[in-house]
Amino acid sequence: MTEITTTEMMTVAASRMLRNGTVCFVGIGLPSTAANLARLTHAPEAVLIYESGPIGAKPDVLPLSIGDGDLATTADTVVSTPEIFRYWLQGGRIDVGFLGTAQIDRFANLNTTVIGPYDKPKARLPGAGGAPEIAAQAGETIIVVNHDKRVFVETLDFITTAGFLDGGEARARAGFPGKGPTAVITNLCILKPDPVTRELTVASLHPGTTRAQVQAATGWDIRFANDVATTEAPSEREISVLRDLLKRTGEAHGAA
């Protein structure tokens, strides 16, 4: 087995968060890779829901877009987008929301809207998509994102998707149906919200990662748990299933 990359470590760590049998609302990109890896390894009964309409999608290759045909043809059923958001998400049937983001702050609020002032942005990002309501209404949210100082920022220019807001009991007071972010998985570590302050705290470092690396890639003084663990390295099976999946995907999409 060739050396495991940090991206592979991130994907495997994220996939392990998805328990077998749970109903998961999947974002495109890294979350979708992790969710499908989970389905192909320890969680064969996980139900993957994509916002374009497929429920119980079992794609053989990873979708490039949120509405690829393979999601529809392998799903238990395909419903309309209003139905996904009204009956399935708002209806309270989603256990886990699996999301990516452009930026995140210490309380796991997310920005995918704009860098700089809203009316005169330095960079206009795609916008909300499904994320705000997924993060509000799924039983819990797991975020998968690359660890970088431009991503882990002190202050967001725009809160697209609420995590723990100002921390503490702020989220509980806001009355969201879901309990919010339970883990943030990066290429360096696993962060979890402090049970009282809700500030993201490093719970586990991936093998070979140092505290200094994590601090250098974070835009605020990052906190570490008292008993920081070392993330279990990917097993041979996890890595071979992941690499096969990515290989199949590249071949199917013309490896453009």
């Binding site: 495109i28 916002e51 509405g67 708002q90 809203y118 705000p132 509000a136 969201f176």
Partner: protein
């Protein structure tokens, strides 16, 4: 009552300067041929509504057809940014572009409200986010029964909705399957609707519960085979991922975008000629 006609006739008759236009399709069945025809006919001052603006709206914005965009997520799916959209929002090129943004839950609920002939949609959304802070059409209301705080947003009522579907029949009934997104709601919310289809058949052979738009809900049905390219049409053709990647290059630069659009859209007479020209430029590896 649906009229079976050419795409150019349908756009000319039903889609006018200043209209509020929804061209829907959630990565599947995107009405790209219809978007090109709007560019060709040089419509101006449009309010473009779409849950997920992608390449079609990038082209319309870059060619100066749009005054405003109402949306939930604007990007090149699987690739990255929409450069023309960004240039308009960040730099006002080719004209200032007003934006009104929601989320997918918001947009899809607003279409349902429009199709239901209601003035607004009610949903649990936007709490704790900045979305409502920058969009004064998102309001808070209280449930009259429980007092729960909820979001209210205006329903979407397009002047014209444009979609692409797999099949129409000779009366103009339309059958659509696979990922159907918000297309049915968008058609029923609109005053007029234009549908391009892969083929026109004698009998749709639609099973009960299939997504059928009866001919009396549609203004025009136009046979445009391949009309959703470079997106896909379930059971007809696959997504052309190469085009989406190439678009990232073509659209990044203003002049290159204008040259591409002139050569491929303005100087072609219809979709079939566009596909022939594109096949030629793609073969030489010169997409502009």
């Amino acid at each position: 009552m649906a009229k079976i006609c050419s795409l150019s006739e349908a756009i000319s008759e039903h889609l006018h300067d200043g209209d509020t236009v929804a061209m829907e399709g959630f990565t599947h069945l995107i009405p790209v041929a219809a978007g090109h025809e709007v560019v060709r006919q040089k419509r101006r001052d449009l309010t473009l509504v779409r849950m997920t603006p992608d390449l079609v709206y990038d082209q319309l914005i870059g060619m100066g057809c749009a005054r405003k965009v109402v949306f939930g997520w604007g990007g090149n799916p699987g690739v990255g940014s929409l450069h023309r959209f960004r240039d308009a929002v960040e730099n006002g090129w080719p004209n200032r572009l007003e934006i009104e943004e929601y989320s997918h839950a918001g947009m899809s609920n607003a279409y349902v409200a429009g199709a239901s002939n209601l003035p607004f949609a009610v949903l649990r959304a936007y709490t704790g986010t900045d979305i409502a802070r920058y969009n004064d059409r998102i309001k808070t209301i209280h449930c009259p029964f429980t007092g729960e705080e909820l979001a209210a947003i205006p329903s979407i009522r397009p002047d014209v909705t444009v979609i692409h579907a797999q099949k129409g029949d000779r009366k103009g009934n339309v059958l659509i399957w696979g990922i159907v997104g918000v297309q049915k709601e968008a058609v029923l919310a609109a005053r007029r609707a234009i549908v391009t289809v892969e083929e026109i058949v004698d009998d749709l052979e639609a099973p009960p519960n299939a997504c059928v738009l009866p001919h009396w809900t549609v203004s025009a049905v136009c046979a445009v085979p391949g009309g959703a390219f470079p997106s896909y049409a379930q059971d007809y053709y696959e997504r052309d991922n190469r085009f989406y990647l190439d678009w990232d290059d073509v659209s990044r630069d203003r002049q290159r975008f204008l040259d591409w659009t002139r050569r491929h859209v303005l100087e072609t007479k219809d979709w079939a000629e566009f596909r022939r020209v594109l096949a030629g430029t793609a073969k030489t590896g010169v997409t502009s």
